[in-house]
C-alpha cells in the first residue's frame, strides 16, 4: 500500500486534487481513497489530505500517520511537514523552483517544480489564490511513477469537466515535464 500526505492551504483546492489523484489511481486499476483531514477548513490555513493506493481492496479508514510520500502545494508550508514521519524511501514533492533550505541535508529524495508559475501562466487563479493542486499532479506522476499521466488527465477531465479541464491538464503536463527529482 502506498500512502500520500498532501499539505496545502485552505482554499487552494487540495481536497479536489487528492480526489483527482485517487480517481486516477482507479483508472490505473488500483484501489484508492482520498481523505480530507476532517475539521473546519480556513482559507490560507494549513490543510492536510491523504491518498491511499493499493492493488487489493483497501479496508483501512484511518488518516495516514506515516506516509510513503508527501506533497506540499505551497512552499511556505514546507516547515509544517514532519519529515521523520515520511518513509525514508519516499519522495517529498514540493511546489518550488528549487529545493528549499528546510530539506537540504535531509538526504531525502525531493521532487520539485514551480507549479505556481505554471498555474499563473495558465490563469489558474481564483479569488487571489493560485491553484496548484492539479498542476502538482503532474509532479506526482513524474516523481512516483505510480500513475500514468493519461489516467491523471482522464481523472482531471472527469472531475473538472470539459470547460476547465484543458487548462488544468496542460498545467499538469507542464509540471510533469519540468519536475526535477534530486536527493537533498
Amino acid at each position: 500500500m502506498i500512502e500520500l500526505l498532501q499539505i496545502s492551504r485552505g482554499g487552494s483546492g487540495g481536497v479536489t486534487g487528492a480526489k483527482i489523484l485517487a480517481e486516477a489511481a482507479m483508472y490505473e486499476g488500483l484501489d484508492s481513497q482520498a481523505i480530507p483531514k476532517y475539521g473546519a477548513e480556513r482559507r490560507g490555513a494549513k490543510v492536510e489530505a491523504y491518498v491511499r493506493f493499493d492493488s487489493s481492496p483497501i479496508r483501512i479508514h484511518s488518516p495516514v500517520y506515516n506516509p510513503t510520500h508527501a506533497m506540499v502545494l505551497d512552499s511556505s508550508l514546507i516547515k509544517a511537514l514532519e519529515i521523520d514521519k515520511v518513509s525514508k524511501d519516499g519522495i517529498i514533492m514540493i511546489n518550488s523552483s528549487h529545493i528549499p533550505d528546510f530539506l537540504k541535508g535531509t538526504n531525502r529524495k525531493v521532487a520539485y517544480v514551480d507549479a505556481t508559475s505554471i498555474s499563473k501562466e495558465l490563469g489558474l487563479v481564483v479569488s487571489g489564490f493560485t491553484l496548484t493542486n492539479v498542476t502538482m499532479l503532474g509532479c506526482f506522476a513524474k516523481a512516483t511513477g505510480i500513475i500514468k499521466m493519461e489516467n491523471i488527465e482522464k481523472a482531471i477531465e472527469k472531475t473538472l469537466g470539459a470547460k476547465i479541464a484543458p487548462k488544468n491538464i496542460e498545467a499538469a503536463r507542464r509540471a510533469y515535464e519540468q519536475t526535477k527529482v534530486e536527493t537533498a
Binding site: R9, G10, G44, A45, S76, G128
Partner: protein, 91 residues
Amino acid sequence: MTEKEPSMPILYPIEGAAGLTGDWRTQRPIVDPEKCKMCNICWQYCPDLAITAANKEENKVIVFDYTFCKGCGICARECPFGAIHMEKEVD
C-alpha cells in the same frame, strides 16, 4: 470514594487559540508612515486585532502584528489615505 471534580469541556482564554494565524497570510499589509494620518480607522476594522493603534500625541503610526494578521486586506482597503498596501508574502 475520593473527592473528584468532573471532567468537562472547558477552555480558558488565551491568545493564539487557533495558533499563530499569521501563518495563514498570503499577503501582508505594509503601512507608509508618511501617509498614515493616525485616524485608526484601520484599527477599528481589523477583525484580528492585528493592528496596534496609532497615537497622535506620541506621533506613533499604526503597527501590524504579523504573528496574527491573516492578511485579509481590510485595513488597506479602508484606509482613507491610501497609507496601507498589501504585498505578496514571499516564501
